[in-house]
């Protein structure tokens, strides 16, 4: 499955990246293709293109704060979880996609 994701935590220096790492690692182990955009203290990194979003079947938002450019995902199914859940239990996040 092609998945896009966005992570964003309150301070933007730690949990944003830990969640991104967990999502990438877990997707790989489950055989998914994923690209994770981080919205941290340095702004948007690894930004998702329109094309990537269009080709994806689902978006995962692991966020504790409102994100920038949410309107890009209007057409997409969105799974939103707190950042901590993506860090602590990433597999369950992906289980929710199937459900």
């Amino acid at each position: 499955m092609k998945i896009v994701a966005v992570t964003a935590c309150p301070t933007g220096i730690a949990h944003t990246y830990m969640a991104a790492e967990q999502l990438e690692k877990t997707a790989k182990s489950l055989g998914h293709q994923i690209k994770v955009e981080t919205q941290g203290a340095m702004g948007i990194e690894n930004e998702l293109s329109e094309n990537e979003i269009r080709q994806a079947q689902v978006a995962i938002f692991a966020i504790d704060i409102e994100i920038e450019k949410r309107e890009r995902f209007k057409q997409l199914k969105i799974i939103q979880v707190p950042v901590q859940e993506a860090i602590k239990n990433p597999v369950s996040v992906f289980t929710r996609i199937q459900g």
Binding site: P10, T11, G12, I13, A14, H15, T16, Y17, M18, A20, E21, Q22, K25, T38, G40, A41, M42, E45, D64, Q84, I87, K88
Partner: protein, 857 residues
């Protein structure tokens, strides 16, 4: 100007003192006024109060504040000379008569209660910290010194009552004088002199005598006089003057003690163990009478931040918190107390948590002090290895030791004018010899550059009778007066040469403008050396001889002068004034006088290069050298030394160590190419970031075997690591923002790790600190496992550094990796951990080195 004896002479002035004409400046002014026969009165035009200028109390009561216009009326046989002298005193000495005692107000706003103390629920009271430090001891509650309402005693005859007063005044005067004869700080002496001035005050005595004539007993007259002057002072609009009421009351109480003895004793407080004195307020002599061996702190309900008790506490280094409501009532006698006068807290119950916090803090402050002083002692050197000696300017031998304690690498300017001022004859050779010898000994192993007397112009000396001039800065001053006052100069030179046998002394002459003057100076020194040799008096024949560069002409005969002398010191205050033809005291042109004017920078470069081309040494002792902003310029000029106010030495040395000589040279070329001073200032301002960016990680930010027992203590310990490393100056604020983040959700990561973090400018450099705990502690982690490894990420809010942020992001990702975590768990040594992190995070060399500039690209 002819004048009629019936028409008194008069002049006006505007009070220049920020705290107004309060006790100390007023007592000095009154003392000066007492040297004349004429009647002198001062009228404050703001409130219409007229005061006898010879009375300190009357002058204080006139409530003269900064900017008040006052007129002085003089009537009597010496009115013309009195007018000239007093006018001169007000113009020249008055503005400086309020220095050194108060210093910078160090009162701090209410601090932030550290988390460990907050969660300990220890009882805490707030106040205003006015003299920093932390004190611990038993509460000794004393009642305030109070004037009685009445002395119940009938008066005998007025002559007898007057004699009792006379005796009491004389006894108290002697007692204060004998206290003054002991060695003490300028602050203590200043306070005692102010008290002496009250005892000797004419208006005070007049008032008492008047009451006695009216039938009062000595005691009753004292009480009423005390009340009268107290209410006068308390009516002042200035807090500073209101604070002086305590002094009057103490003097009156002391006089009552003299008259009535034990019957009216306020009983001296005796301390026998570490104690915190708790009182409503404290009188200065009361404080001076306490045994400092046991006095650990002061807690006062009322005491102005400018009261003499507070000034003394600061000077004696006694931790003091004032404004603690109902302190003497609510704090029980004998209670174990902690006074945190860094933050403004009192802990009336020294609970275990409080004592533990302050014990940790004490060790922390010791560590930080050790590191600061270690760096302070090292010679100043830029980060690319160019050394620039930092010396201190002083005006007395007493200041030499404290300058060296501040890290000064010698005395770059020992001004000698002060030895000649404020007295009616010049100091003798012996007196000067002792002073210069002591200064040289105190400065060892460094040298002292003694500048021969520099008077005239802005620094008059009454006993020399120098003529009034219409343009003193271009007139008879500095070296130019030596030929006429040959005996004065000879005496000083002999004293300096003799002192050279006892340490490293260098001689420097001020205000030299021609080669002839240099040659004359040398010939005088040569003659005196011959004389000393003939008299078998020892001196150092190798003492170096130098001159100030203050007059631009010298800059164009450097080749000629360099072959005659050993060194130069640039006096930027006068040099810039002469160079740009600007009187710095004239507001209309003062802005032209910046030492950063491109033309002046080029001129300095011409001088520094010229001296070095001729193989000689050049330093700078003007104000320009005191301002850290100018350091890149001074480094680029290649000066051998700068000499500044002693208090500036640590910050100058620290800043030099963070600058690069190479970058400074490029900067100076840009500055010299500017067309206006505003451009120079703007460039200097924007390159402030030239200060090296420190690496994110450092072994000194890693602590293993931590004894922290709680989340509060662990976070504090991490922040303290940053504080000791100089990465934050505001640990309390940093702690607060870390806890603000913690409140969103716990930063406990699971697996025994926690990563508290924040973005705040309370941290000066982006930093990672790491703690390995001996005892696992609960962090509210997601997996409920206790934490053994804590990593603090502290990032600046305003100027993010992209490179650093990428490293942090990488660290965050790595923490999700079991192998990485195991690596951290396994390692038990700070250096190994630092190595491991650098390798795992592949920190690029330029981020570890100190050369990157935080540009946020």
């Amino acid at each position: 100007m002819p004048h009629d004896i019936c028409n008194p002479v008069e002049f006006n002035f505007i009070c220049p003192l920020p705290n107004g004409l309060h006790a100390r400046p007023a007592s000095q002014l009154a003392e000066f006024a007492n040297g004349f026969i004429s009647d002198l009165s001062l009228t404050n035009s703001r409130n219409g109060i007229t005061a006898n200028l010879k009375s300190t109390l009357a002058v204080i009561s006139a409530d003269v504040r900064e900017g008040d216009e006052c007129s002085v009326l003089i009537r009597g046989s010496d009115e013309e000379s009195a007018k000239k002298a007093i006018r001169e005193y007000i113009a020249r000495n008055l503005p400086n008569s309020d220095e050194s005692l108060v210093g910078r107000a160090s009162e701090s706003a209410k601090g932030i209660l550290p988390r460990a103390l907050m969660s300990s629920k220890a009882q805490c009271r707030f106040g205003l910290a006015v003299s920093p430090g932390i004190g611990k001891g038993k509460a000794v509650v004393v009642s305030r010194m109070r004037l009685p309402q009445n002395i119940d005693e009938g008066a005998e005859n007025p002559q007898k009552e007057e004699r009792r007063i006379e005796r009491a005044l004389a006894a108290l005067r002697d007692r204060i004088k004998s206290m003054l004869s002991r060695s003490m700080s300028p602050a203590e002496a200043g306070v005692l002199k102010a008290h002496l001035a009250i005892v000797e005050d004419v208006a005070f005595k007049d008032r008492i005598e008047e009451l006695i004539t009216g039938g009062r007993s000595a005691g009753q007259a004292l009480v009423e006089s005390g009340q009268f002057f107290t209410s006068l002072l308390q009516g002042s609009e200035s807090e500073y003057i209101r604070d002086r009421a305590v002094d009057i009351q103490e003097i009156c109480v002391r006089l009552l003690e003299e008259i009535y003895g034990d019957e009216f004793s306020t009983s001296a407080v005796e301390l026998t163990e570490p104690s915190i004195l708790v009182s409503e307020t404290l009188a200065p002599q009361q404080l001076l009478g306490l045994d400092r061996q046991w006095l650990q702190g002061l807690v006062l309900e009322y005491a102005g931040t400018t009261s003499h008790a507070v000034i003394l506490a600061r000077s004696l280094g006694i931790p003091t918190v004032v404004g603690v409501k109902d302190a003497p009532v609510v704090i029980p006698q004998g209670q174990e107390l902690v006074v945190d006068a860094n933050r403004g807290f009192i802990f009336p119950n020294g609970t275990a948590a409080v004592l533990r916090f302050y014990e940790r803090e004490r060790r922390l402050l010791e560590r930080r002090q050790l590191i600061l002083t270690r760096n302070m002692r090292a010679p100043a050197c830029t980060k690319d290895g160019r050394s620039l000696e930092v010396a201190a300017n002083v005006s007395s031998r007493k200041e030499v030791a404290s300058a060296l304690a501040n890290g000064a690498e010698g005395i770059g300017l020992f001004r000698t004018e002060m030895l000649f001022m404020g007295r009616d004859h010049a100091p003798s050779e012996e007196e000067q010899f002792a002073i210069y010898r002591d200064a040289a000994c105190a400065a060892a192993p460094y040298s002292v550059i003694i500048r021969t007397i520099d008077i005239g112009g802005d620094k008059p000396i009454p006993h020399l009778n120098l003529p009034d001039e219409s343009n003193p800065y271009l007139g008879y001053r500095g070296m130019r007066i030596y030929a006429e006052h040959r005996e004065l100069f000879r005496t000083q030179l002999r004293a300096i040469l003799r002192a050279s046998a006892f340490g490293r002394i260098q001689i420097m002459a001020p205000m030299v403008s021609t080669l002839e003057e240099v040659l004359w100076l040398k010939s005088q020194i040569a003659t005196l050396r011959d004389e000393l040799r003939n008299q078998d008096i020892s001196f150092d024949p190798a003492t170096r001889i130098g001159i100030m560069i203050e007059v631009p002409s010298v800059a164009f005969i450097l080749d000629q002068v360099c072959s005659e002398i050993d060194f130069f010191s640039i006096g930027t205050n006068d040099l810039s004034q002469y160079f740009l033809a600007v009187d710095r005291d004239n507001a209309k042109v003062a802005e032209l006088s910046s030492v950063r004017h491109p033309s002046f920078l080029r001129f300095l470069k011409h001088i520094a290069d010229g001296v070095h081309r001729n193989g000689k040494w050049v330093g700078m002792c003007g104000e320009m050298a005191s301002d850290v902003r100018n350091l890149p310029i001074l480094i680029a000029l290649g000066l051998d030394e700068i000499s500044a106010a002693s208090s500036q030495v640590p910050i100058l040395k620290e800043t030099i160590s963070r600058l690069s000589a190479q970058a400074s040279e490029q900067l100076l070329s840009r500055l010299m190419a500017c067309t206006k001073v505003e451009d120079v200032d703007a460039i200097l301002e924007s390159t402030h970031g030239d200060e090296a960016v420190q690496p994110l990680l450092d072994a000194n930010l890693i602590a293993v075997e931590s004894e922290s027992r709680s989340k509060e203590e662990a976070i504090r310990e991490l922040i303290d690591l940053l504080y000791v490393a100089g990465r934050t100056e505001n640990p309390d604020r940093l702690e607060e923002v870390v806890w603000l983040r913690e409140a969103v959700y716990s930063t406990g990561l699971g697996y025994g790790f926690a990563i508290p973090h924040c973005r705040s400018d309370a941290v000066k450099q982006n930093s990672v600190a790491l703690l390995k705990l001996s005892n696992a502690i609960d962090w509210g982690s997601q997996d409920d496992k206790p934490v053994r490894t804590v990593i603090l990420l502290a990032v600046r809010e305003s100027d993010p550094n992209n490179g650093h942020m990428q490293v942090l992001a990488k660290l965050a990702r790595k923490l999700m990796n079991e192998q990485f975590r195991d690596g951290l768990i396994r390692l038990e040594n700070a250096l190994d951990i630092s190595e491991f992190l650098s390798r795992a995070l592949e920190i690029p060399q330029q981020l570890k080195s100190t050369s990157t500039v935080g540009s946020g690209t």
